[in-house]
Amino acid sequence: GQQVMQIPQYQHVQEGEDFTTYCNSSTTLSNIQWYKQRPGGHPVFLIQLVKSGEVKKQKRLTFQFGEAKKNSSLHITATQTTDVGTYFCAGHRRGTASKLTFGTGTRLQVTL
């Protein structure tokens, strides 16, 4: 079946440092979505990328979708303590419009 892996599994940074999580799918995706889950909370939708090579920005967050539509990345510039949480990528395999497969997640810890 489809597998979506993320690295690193965990990262601890000091506030102000940058952070990147990488997402790799075993199959080609029709789109990629990113979610943030705060400790004790539920996943919250951040963004969706659809086009090959697409790059989108949300303030300090930059999202990329790979040319082959099998990988993606999320980069946070100058992390803040409010960025703490687990970041999940999730994708639809081509031909499965509704079934969303979540990545393994990257837990980010930010300290002062």
Binding site: G1, Q33, Y35, G41, H42, P43, V44, F45, L46, I47, Q48, F88, A90, S98, K99, L100, T101, F102, G103, T104, G105, R107
Partner: protein, 114 residues
């Protein structure tokens, strides 16, 4: 985006009993989904619930264990039947509100089976 109210938020249940989790969406949605998440782990899709038809279950999940109801476009329930300690987990419902809006999640139900 839609708002989903999920209850109960947590419960401690005896093994062999059943628990029904409810999700109410503040607007009509075509598809609702039920996920399971072990603490510190990713989300695993249990089933897709469409109004007017039987739920579609993922590999490893069966209707007798996780019966789902979807009586209308704003409501769904998941029952965890004949519970064992292995069913202890967080259960989340989700809905797709629009093609580009992502999925909205309920706040989750933390289930502990003793």
């Amino acid at each position: 985006s839609a708002v989903i109210s999920q209850k109960p938020s947590r419960d401690i249940c005896q093994r062999g009993t059943s628990l029904t989790i409810q999700c109410q969406v503040d607007s009509q949605v075509t598809m609702m989904f039920w996920y399971r998440q072990q603490p510190g782990q990713s989300l695993t899709l249990i089933a897709t619930a469409n109004q007017g038809s039987e739920a579609t279950y993922e590999s490893g999940f069966v209707i007798d264990k996780f019966p789902i109801s979807r009586p209308n476009l704003t409501f769904s329930t998941l029952t965890v039947s004949n519970m064992s300690p292995e069913d202890s987990s967080i259960y989340l419902c989700s809905a797709l509100h629009g093609a580009n809006s992502g999925y909205t999640f309920g706040s989750g139900t933390r289930l502990t089976v003793v």
